[in-house]
Amino acid sequence: MAIDPAEVLRIARLARLKVDPDEARRLAKDLDRIVHHIDSLRSVKLPEGAESLTYFGRDVHRADDARDCLAREDALRNAPMQDGEFFLVPKIVDKEES
């Protein structure tokens, strides 16, 4: 898989990263070399139905107990913009909810 500046810009949009065209060219070069290296995994022979490893543990959950929350001023303290009640953000143009 080769990565060109256009592909970098596509991924950057997905990741909400502003990348200018110069940066995209540099990043494409770096990423292309890295992807070329990780493509070596294609040569690894894996048995049919090989399992994956993400987890070392199993079966951890908590009881349904409610506990104290943050005080509102502590919740809002780090916000770049807030009005004492809400977090404020620039206008949301269109609604896309899951």
Partner: protein
């Protein structure tokens, strides 16, 4: 008694508990040294002398009141700046978190407080722990105390350098692909990555969730064990924290009959001659002390870097999605919220973090998932099986920690792939979730420390520390870096 800053943690705690030294004296001795050295090595991002003294005075007050503050009474512990301390900055060496002050303590911080430790500032790192040299810190690199023109390693370079230079007897770091062991090796101290799940990650700002572990830095194996003992154990707030009993870290014993596996893949191309020579000498001494050296092979480990640079960036791309300028941290300009997101993240993240976010986003994106992330996790599972099979034949594995001693600052900064490849010997332990420890096995002709890495099976910390203690006794003892020349301070800060 030598100077307080030269003492180890166990000795300091004993002195404070025995009222031979006050916690305030201990704090001042380290503050004095830290404030002088930090201009040269940039180990700390934040160090508030008054806050340190306040904690020390509190320890002294409790001792005067007849209380026992705990096994780390009055011992300064430096924290990597990706660990949350209530009310103190936690920047991750990133512009995006520069304004962030967590409203809570990490689990390890709670444990340290409960043990009577004095939280001793926040140390430098590669931005979000992504890097092997601290050159990716948004606030400038940490320098190696043994050679200021060289890297202290990374990403926990600040913690390693602080302990090596006697600015703190103990420090915590985090290790995702070698970020504790590699800087420990390059700075000549002990650094250890625990079994995945042994230490709660609650309050550790995530880089790659399935690989990250918090671990200790110290100048001796005993001190490293003391710190690990303090922070290990189940925490209900981290679902990946293991319920298994914490291994007994105090085991002592000689090396007779200990089966030490030496993976041939760790001595391949790219291993510097001087590193190889020092490690082979160390292995010879282990053998001389009765260890059984067994040649083993881990053929899949050669794919470690490839697997790691898929898994870690993928998880990171998601873990770092929360930095969107809404609830905390930096916010960029933007008329719409979408614009604000891209500006915030474009401005706030440095080049390496962007590279990894892009790499991870790519690996997870539609059409590539199976070929990259899916495949990497399968190879990872196979690597773990291979490692488990190996540990049926040997008790521990021994290898160099890094392929070379500390490299010059700037040497690899423009070549990300070369930098990634320097993690080749350390990533396997993270991918397989096993514990590994680096201890110094001597210095190169240039006076640069070289690390010997010991690896044990999951929850094999008991054997790991026992072997490390025995090895430590056979290897050159820790020696202090030379005092930096006056006038060599960095003028930038």
């Amino acid at each position: 008694m030598s100077e307080l800053w030269q003492e180890g943690a166990a000795a300091l705690a004993a002195a404070v508990r025995g009222r031979e030294a006050s916690a305030l004296d201990v704090a001042d001795a380290h503050l004095d040294r830290a404030l002088r050295w930090n201009d040269h090595i940039e180990a700390f991002l934040h160090l508030e002398p008054e806050e340190v003294r306040r904690q020390a005075r509190e320890i002294d007050r409790r001792i005067a009141a007849g209380e026992d503050p705990g096994p780390l009474a009055g011992v300064p512990v430096a924290l990597k700046d990706n660990l949350c301390v209530r009310g103190q900055p936690a920047t991750c060496a990133s512009r995006i978190l520069e304004p962030f002050v967590p409203p809570y303590d990490a689990h390890v911080v709670e444990r340290l407080r409960a043990a009577g430790a004095v939280l001793f500032g926040k140390t430098n790192l590669d931005e979000f722990a992504m890097g092997s040299s601290t050159e990716n810190s948004a606030f400038g690199p940490t320098r190696n105390p043994f050679d200021l023109a060289r890297t202290a390693g990374g990403s926990s370079g600040g913690s390693a350098a602080a302990v090596a230079a006697g600015l703190a007897p103990l420090a915590l770091g985090s290790d995702t692909g070698g970020s504790i062991r590699q800087p420990a090796a390059l700075c000549g101290v002990v650094g250890m990555k625990p079994t995945y799940g042994l230490v709660s990650r609650y309050g550790l700002i995530a880089f790659a969730s399935s690989l990250d572990q918090i671990g200790p830095f110290a100048r001796t194996v005993d001190d490293a064990a003391l710190l690990l003992e303090t922070i290990a154990g189940r925490d209900a707030r981290d679902a990946t924290s293991a319920a298994d009993a914490v291994p007994d870290l105090r085991q002592r014993g000689d090396l007779k009959g200990l089966r030490v596996g030496v993976p041939e893949e760790c001595f391949g191309e790219g291993l510097a001659k001087d590193v190889r020579a020092l490690v082979e000498t160390a292995l010879g001494r282990l053998k001389g002390a009765g260890a059984k050296i067994v040649e083993v092979s881990l053929p899949l480990s050669v794919h470690g870097i490839a697997v790691y640079y898929i898994v870690a960036p993928s998880e990171a791309s998601s873990n770092l999605a929360r930095y969107d300028g809404v609830r905390y941290g930096l916010r960029g300009e933007g008329r719409s919220v979408e614009e604000m997101f891209s500006e915030t993240r474009g401005e706030g993240f440095g080049p390496e973090v962007k590279r990894r976010i892009l790499l991870g986003t790519f690996a997870l994106s539609s059409g590539y998932y199976e070929a990259y992330y899916g495949r990497a996790q399968k190879v990872r599972a196979a690597m773990r099986h291979e490692m488990e099979a190996c540990f049926r034949k040997v008790d521990v594995l021994a290898s160099p920690t890094t392929p070379t001693a500390a490299f010059a600052l700037g040497e690899k900064a423009s070549d990300p792939l070369a930098m990634y490849l320097s993690d080749v010997l350390t990533v396997t332990a993270n991918l397989c979730g096993v514990p590994a420890l680096s201890l110094s096995c001597g210095r190169t002709a240039e006076g640069l420390p070289v690390g010997l890495q010991l690896t044990a099976p999951r929850f094999g910390e008991g054997t790991l520390f026992r072997a490390a203690r025995a090895a430590e006794a056979l290897l050159p003892p820790f020696s202090w870096p030379p005092a930096p020349a006056a006038g060599a301070e960095r003028r930038t800060r």
